[in-house]
């Protein structure tokens, strides 16, 4: 990524969003991050925060990796209260809307929006209905804005990684409980860092050569779930 470019990372307080921001910062990219205490469903607060961070300028790339942690708690849907359902499923949908809407206001023409999501929605997982529901929602919201923002040459794409990689990023301290996910296939490729894989795809998507790719889903799971 060109060092003069600026990247807004939303969801950088934990998991893969944290690791992406850390890697980009370490190699010298210009990174903008929202405060981890910010309520991403508060459009006014998110907008104000972005304006104060960006000033009169724009950002070239937005990386959005924000799923509320409550979505990772495995539970049958019949056991959830309405507020638990809301927090586990709908909060992340609302925050994706607000983040995309407010990011649009500071995004340069020709900019890139890259969403990072877990692969769970492609297959569905028992016990994680709220998460699967939220992820599919955000995937298609991304396609819809890809269609809307294409006239400004803004591309919007989604990269999906396995759930553990999404939740942990580079953090292998073992202090985060990852839900059990049924093994639906073995990776075709040898294991490697999912963060490295994602950074590689981000670098590819921000190049001019990738300017024709929008509304796409890139699955960086080393060939575990090969969708039909």
């Amino acid at each position: 990524m060109a060092s003069s470019a600026s990247t807004l990372v939303i969801g950088s307080s934990s998991g893969i969003g944290f690791s992406i921001a850390q890697r980009l910062r370490t190699r010298g990219d210009s990174i903008i991050e929202l405060a981890s205490t910010l309520d991403l469903t508060n459009a006014e607060a998110v907008g104000e925060s972005l304006r104060s961070l960006v000033g009169s300028g724009t950002v070239d790339c937005v990386v959005l990796a924000a799923i509320d942690p409550s979505a990772f708690r495995s539970a049958p849907i019949v056991s959830l209260t309405e507020s638990e359902w809301d927090q586990a499923a709908e909060y992340s949908m609302r925050s994706a809307f607000v983040a995309l809407q407010q990011a649009h206001g500071v995004l340069a023409d020709g900019g890139r929006v890259i969403l990072i999501l877990p692969t769970v929605a492609a297959t569905g997982i028992a016990g994680l209905v709220p998460l699967c529901t939220a992820v599919e929602t955000i995937r298609v919201m991304a396609k819809a804005v890809a269609r809307r923002w294409g006239a400004r040459s803004i591309t919007v794409n989604t990269i999906e990684v396995e759930l553990a990689a999404f939740m942990l990023g580079d953090n292998d301290a073992g202090d985060t409980e990852v839900p059990m996910v049924p093994v639906l296939g073995q990776p075709a490729l040898p294991p490697a860092s999912a963060v490295d894989d994602v950074i590689g795809l981000i670098d590819m998507l921000v190049t001019p050569a990738a300017g024709a790719i929008t509304g796409a889903l890139l699955v960086a799971d080393r060939g575990t779930v090969m969708q039909p």
């Binding site: 499923a89 949908m93 809407q101 569905g124 028992a126 016990g127 209905v129 929602t137 919201m141 819809a144």
Partner: protein, 258 residues
Amino acid sequence: MSNLSGLMEGRVVLVTGAAAGVGRGVAAAFGSAGAIVGIGVRRPEAAEETAAAVAAVGGTPVILRCDVTDAAQSADAIEQLVRDFGRLDAVVHNAVSGRSSEATDFENTTLDEWEDHASVTVRATWRLAVQAYPHLQKSQGAYLLMSSPAGIEGSERAPFYSAVKAAQRGFVRALAREWGPDRIRVNSVAPLAISPALENMKILEPERVKRIEGLVPLGRLGDPETDIGPPSVFLCSDEARYVTGQTLVVSGGRFTSL
């Protein structure tokens, strides 16, 4: 009408949003399959035409007040069917926000508009599942969501509508796995069909409708009762006993890569 005779004989089905359009057509198709059809509507007086359509083809219509954004109303609708007929075999959640045909100004709108869509299509999808679960578990029944091709490919004009319709597809895949051990099947249909709005457009802008129809390989928009109804009945019937977690695109070939 397709020959659905006997496919749902004596089975009890709740169809939400059944006052008009696809909901009415699907309700009538269940009627022709011999079902007792709970016609879930916000205003019971608006359900008379659907009830007549269900009765005309041999079904048993039951009009139920069921604003799906009201937890008590949807619970009562389900309980009434179970109390009066002893069982519940399928729930078809078809209701959508009254704003679903409106364009959404994504960059300038607020969460209030999102809430209009999410309350009907996301939260009610979850709540109806929870409320119907013990009855569907007993009948080893089916939960069918009426999604949309927009929920697969995304819509520039209707980003909220397409997002909440996508929510239903994610929900279907995961819940099919969760409820598989209970032998409850969970599927969705993504229809392309004549709606009341399109009926109106046929009169006011016939050329526009012709253009839309020209994009459909089969040359026409789907009829809610005869084109969308039968696949919906099939998915809730014993004939689809091994089908779960799927979205069936019923679009006359308009969408072939979804």
